[in-house]
Amino acid sequence: MQLLKSCTATVTALTLAAIVTAAPGGGTVTGKITYTGTPAKPKPIDMAKEPSCAKQYTTPPMTENVVTGPGNTLEYVVVYISAGAPDESSAPSTAVTFDQKGCHYTPHVLAFQVNQELKVTNSDQTSHNIHPLAKVNHEWNKSQPPGTPPISEKYDKPEFISVKCNIHPWMHGWFAVVKTSHYAVSDGSGEFKLPNLPPGKYTLTAWHESYGTQTQEVTIDGNETKSANFVFTAKPY
C-alpha cells in the first residue's frame, strides 16, 4: 500500500515534470540583421524581351541580390539552427510554394526542410523553365507552360540552391533547404524570430546570398527570449 502510494507519487511527479519541460513555447531567439558599409544599388530590370511580363509593372522591378530596409537592415537572410538540435529528416506534410509571376520569383528566397514538398507554380502568360542549380542534390530542369499544373519536387539533402529560368535570364531565386524546423527568413525590417526552442546550446547560422555566412552561439535555459543580431559587411559591387 505504502509502495503503491509512493509509486503513484513518483509517476505523477515525473509526468508533471515532463509536461513542464515539453511546454509549447519553449525559448525564443529573435534578432535583427543589419549591414555596415555601402551596398551596391539595386538595378532596374529590363523585361522588354517578354512583353507579357513587362506590362505588369508601372515602374521596372529592381534586382534583388541585396534587398535593404530602413535602418541599414537586410532582408532575405536565412537564419537557422545549424548545430545543437537533433536533425529532423521527417518534414512537415504541408508543401511550400514557389511562384513565377511577372517573370519574378515569389518569394525571392524560399526556406524549407529536407524532404518537404516543394510546389512550383506558373502564374504568368508565358512559359518558364524552372532550373534549380543544385550541386549536392539532383539537378533537374523542367519546362512549365502557362496553365499547367504545379510541379512537385523535394530535396533530400540540405543545400542552398540557386534557381534560375534560362528563358528569362534576369530571374533569380534561392531554395534554402535545411534539416531543421528551426529556421526563419528575415523580413523587410531585417527581423527574424525562432520560437519553440527546447533548452540547449545552439549554433545559429545566418546566410545571405551576396554577403556570405555568419554564426553565433546561443543558449536556451527555459522559456526565455534571447536576442541574437547579425551584422554583415556590405560590398559596393
Binding site: H138, E139, N141, I167, P169
Partner: protein, 278 residues
C-alpha cells in the same frame, strides 16, 4: 590451445582481406551480356580520358582551359544524354552509347575504335567518381512508343506545338539557334552556351535518329538550359513535334521535308511576339 586460437584469428583476418563486399556493385557496369570492371577501366581512363576529364574526374584536365564546352565533371553525376528522366542517373547503356558516339560540336570524340569490353570497363570506372552511384539507382528509362507515319497533319501539328511550347524563344522561329533568349543562355557552370541550330544540320547531341530527338526533349539535356518537357507533352504530340523539327533541318533532305514540299503545304511563319497567352 593458445596457438590454435591465434591461428584461427589470423585466418579470419586474412579471409576478410579477400572477401568482396557489396559495395563492389558500384564499380561494375552492365550492358547486355557485357560486364565492365572499374579496376580494368582505370588504366584506360589514364590513357584516353584524363587529359580533358582530369585525374579526379571533375573536368579539370590539362586541356580543359582551352576547350569549349568544358569536359564533363563526373563528380556531380549530371549527364546530358540519358534515356532516364531529368535529375536521375543515366543507365550504364546511356553512358556506354555516349562514349561510343561522342558529342558533335564539342571536343568529345567518338571512342568507337575501342573494343566493346574496353568501353564498358571505362563506364564502370567513370561511375567511381561520384558517390551518387552508391546511393541512387539509375532512373527508369522513358518509354518511347512506336513512331507513327509522317503525314502533313503530323508536321502541321508539330509546328503548332513548336509555337505553343515556345521552343522558338531559344531555338528561334526557324530553329537557327537565334531566338530572343539565345544570346544570354548559360550552362549550369555559368559558361555561355548556344541552343541547337536545326538549319546547320549537324547531328543532335545525343544521336541522329528520330527516336533520339524524341528522347532529348522528353528527358531534357541536364546541365544545360534545355528542360524536360515530359510533364507537358503527350506521346503522340511528341512524335508530331519530332516530324516538324526535321523540316527545320534545311541542309538535310529527309522524308519529312520531301513530304512537305511535295504536298505544297506552306507552314505559317512562327510568331515571335508573346502577346499574352496563346
Amino acid at each position: 590451445m593458445k596457438s590454435k586460437l591465434s591461428n584461427a584469428f589470423l585466418a579470419i583476418l586474412l579471409f576478410g582481406c579477400f572477401v568482396d563486399f557489396p559495395t563492389v556493385q558500384a564499380q561494375e557496369a552492365q550492358v547486355g551480356k557485357l560486364t565492365g570492371r572499374a579496376e580494368q577501366g582505370k588504366p584506360l581512363y589514364r590513357r584516353y580520358c584524363i587529359g580533358c576529364h582530369g585525374p579526379r574526374g571533375d573536368g579539370t584536365g590539362e586541356n580543359a582551359p582551352y576547350i569549349d564546352p568544358k569536359p564533363r565533371n563526373f563528380t556531380q553525376a549530371t549527364f546530358k544524354c540519358r534515356s532516364t528522366p531529368t535529375g536521375t542517373l543515366p543507365t550504364d547503356e546511356d553512358l556506354y552509347n555516349s562514349v561510343g558516339r561522342g558529342f558533335d560540336n564539342s571536343n568529345m570524340p567518338s571512342w568507337a575504335p575501342l573494343t566493346d569490353q574496353e568501353r564498358i570497363n571505362l563506364v564502370a570506372f567513370i561511375k567511381t567518381f561520384s558517390p551518387r552511384w552508391k546511393t541512387d539507382k539509375a532512373g527508369t528509362p522513358i518509354n518511347i512508343p512506336n513512331e507513327p507515319p509522317v503525314t502533313v497533319q503530323s508536321i502541321q501539328h508539330g509546328h503548332d506545338l513548336f509555337q505553343k511550347l515556345e521552343c522558338w524563344k531559344c531555338h528561334g522561329p526557324e530553329g537557327r539557334g537565334d531566338g530572343p533568349s539565345a544570346a544570354t543562355l548559360t550552362d549550369s557552370n555559368d559558361q555561355p552556351i548556344r541552343p541547337y541550330n536545326f538549319a546547320e544540320g549537324s547531328r543532335f547531341k545525343c544521336g541522329g535518329t528520330n527516336q533520339d530527338i524524341y528522347r532529348i526533349f522528353i528527358t531534357g539535356v541536364d546541365g544545360t538550359p534545355m528542360p524536360s518537357f515530359a510533364d507537358v507533352i503527350q506521346p503522340n504530340d511528341a512524335w508530331d513535334l519530332v516530324h516538324f523539327l526535321r523540316t527545320l533541318q534545311v541542309n538535310r533532305e529527309g522524308p519529312e521535308r520531301a513530304l512537305l514540299k511535295s504536298s505544297g503545304t506552306k507552314l505559317q511563319p512562327i510568331q515571335t511576339s508573346s502577346g499574352g497567352g496563346r
